[in-house]
Symmetry: C2
Subunit: 412 residues, 2 copies
């Protein structure tokens, strides 16, 4: 079941989005899914590198010209090209900002200032604007000008240090969790500032970074360190809070089993194998902690002999927390996500493609269909017209290189 | 450098927060950090299990009675106890809802309905309310009533499947990224609904789940699967997009090095060891992909001989993306987080404790100091009074068990 999934909560809000790659484009898409009108501003020529990053020409052609990750984070946007290195490009940017409610960017610290588009100058001229700035390590301090990505912040924040097996090197968190979490924090910040503007008439700077997003994800580990001095280490799939609370091998894959309370442990033991598991030394939280290895071995001995689906049904029925370690395809195809409206459909040259919905749903019944991912610069002329740039002015800006070398922009 | 970090953007917004553990308490704290008045509603007796979860009595005593993770996610809230199993408790809940702008809960699907506090009934009576509901797998579909936690959704979503070494079992993402991401999505949804209410006067249901948060984190992997059929597998710290883009061993720990472009690779090679790295077969993105193992071995041979800090300085100066794999303590103490206002200070019985700031900063200069984490039920009477429950009524509700067995609540 695919559902359309665009709301109109932010109807009339215009977002000028200078960002690229993952974190801030995901933020822009979230605002677009909420009904904002998002204009993606890209550099002429190649545009957002996420359009093709990591893909060969043949692979790109096979998916209709833009990468799956670009597809995942750029629906409900229109695209214009602007060459900010030209006077005319910057003049156009100022014109578009004047007609916008929100600006988003993730240029390196100092770049927007170099273009005369820094927060201070722009907010002085446009005090109603909500100006969203995103960086790697924040906008001041010794690391402010260092480039970084999701993995670098996994490392810096301590997340890598606690991800992996105890006696082996750290491993990467499989997805760009810091990018997407920090991008969501920026979206929440923009929405708080829009709420505030609605009440006061005033816009403001909203700032976040990969570092702040990462620190928020790690905050309870830092709290423990600050309060007790304890520093957690990686422990495979296990966790220090309870036993069992980890991955177990099955006859055909893996499941996770979590039984934090004594009551749930009792149900687990009776369901899996009362004979080996209903032992007095395993009965209490403390007992299971002290006999961690024996508990894990005893459970594993049972799970190895049964299929993942079989365990899912048996433990689920006994109200023990259990889940299958799904592959990407199994996860994407699982009916539950579609059943809760978590899947949506985005138009594409090859026909509509399934996509993950925005991660929050609203009770208002105004869901509309999505606009497809835009071609690079395809809305340049239309958007300029909507922002009050007439034909003569457009031609002048165009001739002066505002949108890239003449002829690079495509028009719809 | 510690900074206070509470804003007043949501001044006057009252949030009644029935949630517990991580995801939604983190959402409530975010709203409180923005200036909302958050009332945490807990069950009499033990309250939110995050107050003590996974800790012995001695450990709890050493940190002043509440766990570090409770401390991390419950500042700027007041606490009341309500026994929703009693008629008087539910009557009090209705009284408090009448005076609130936002309701948050993460009870199992059906529980709030059982208490007569389900979204439909409450929104019919209070159409201006923003009602935030959070669940594990969403509120409908075959899995709606299954309990689950962060790890279960790491498994279900495919995140575990792509986290770990290629030839070994999956490992847990070290932090509760799905909890916190889904909690942030809920906060963003609540803020969008508050913005919408400001314009229309109408509240509404806002719903999310661990499943939706997880799917959003995994969305670009699902997009790739849907568009190409490819299913990514775990590959240690490496990644399919570029080489090098992973962890490398150093003389005293680990660093990550990411050089996605040919220009950055050239700088890396010249900085680390031109003799072994400046080879024609490593020069291009395609070449490094085809010779992945040789590239990794050649870099590792150099990094093993040098300290992490040394590599950080050398590669940083050459503008190559590099970061140290910090321990929890190193990450918490690193000056950059404090320099950007990412650290704050929260009052505590043992003196102020450092804490991670909300992960977004605002240009408005109205930062105030934080209120400490509340004792269980310590604000019950004060809050009732503020919501218009007079002494006689309070005594009646109290006698009828609304706040738990008489005498369990502490008063400030």
């Amino acid at each position: 079941m695919l559902e359309a999934g665009r709301y109109s909560l932010l109807e009339g809000i215009r977002v000028l989005d200078f960002s690229r790659v993952f974190a801030v484009p995901a933020c822009g898409q979230f605002l677009g899914d909420l009904g904002a009108e998002v204009i993606k501003v890209e550099a002429p020529g190649n545009g957002d590198e996420a359009r093709y990053y990591g893909m060969t020409d043949a692979e790109l052609e096979a998916v209709g010209g833009v990468s799956p990750s670009f597809h995942a984070f750029n629906r409900n946007k229109r695209s214009i090209t602007l060459d900010l290195r030209t006077e005319a490009g910057r003049e156009t940017a100022h014109r578009l900002i004047r007609g916008s409610d929100v600006l988003l960017h993730n240029f390196r610290v100092g770049t927007m200032e170099k273009f005369g588009l820094g927060a201070e100058a722009i907010l002085a001229a446009h005090p109603r604007l909500v100006y969203g700035a995103f960086s790697a390590y924040g906008s001041r301090g010794a690391k402010a000008r260092i480039g970084a990505n999701d993995l670098a912040l996994q490392a810096h924040s301590g997340l890598l240090h606690i991800t992996g097996e105890a006696d082996r090197p750290p491993v990467r968190v499989g997805t760009a969790a810091i990018d997407l979490h920090a991008g969501m924090a920026l979206a929440a910040g923009i929405l708080a500032a829009l709420f505030h503007r609605e009440r006061t008439g005033k816009g403001q700077l909203v700032e976040t970074s990969l570092l702040q997003g990462a620190a928020h994800l790690m905050s309870y580990f830092y709290a423990e360190y600050w309060m007790t001095g304890a520093e957690r280490q990686r422990m495979g799939t296990a966790n220090h809070l309870s036993v069992p609370n980890q991955v177990f091998p099955t006859a055909d894959g893996y499941v996770v089993i979590i039984a934090p309370s004594d009551e749930m442990w009792d149900r687990l033991a009776r369901t899996l194998d009362p004979e080996t598991l209903l032992r007095p030394e395993f009965e209490t939280i403390g007992g299971r902690h002290s006999h961690r290895d024996a508990v894990i071995d005893a459970i594993s001995a049972v799970t190895r002999t049964r299929s993942s689906d079989d365990l899912l049904i048996a433990l689920g029925a006994a109200k023990v927390n259990v889940a299958k370690v799904n592959t990407i395809g199994e996860a994407a195809e699982d009916a539950q996500l579609a059943d809760i409206g978590g899947l949506t459909s985005v138009p594409h040259a090859d026909g509509p493609k399934p996509a993950v919905s925005m991660p929050v749903a609203f009770g208002t019944a105004d869901r509309q269909s999505h606009a497809p991912v835009p071609g690079l610069g395809e809305d340049t002329r239309t958007v300029c017209t909507e922002y009050g740039i007439d034909d003569a002015e457009y031609d002048r800006l165009h001739a002066a290189g505002a949108f890239g070398p003449c002829g690079t922009e495509t028009e719809t």
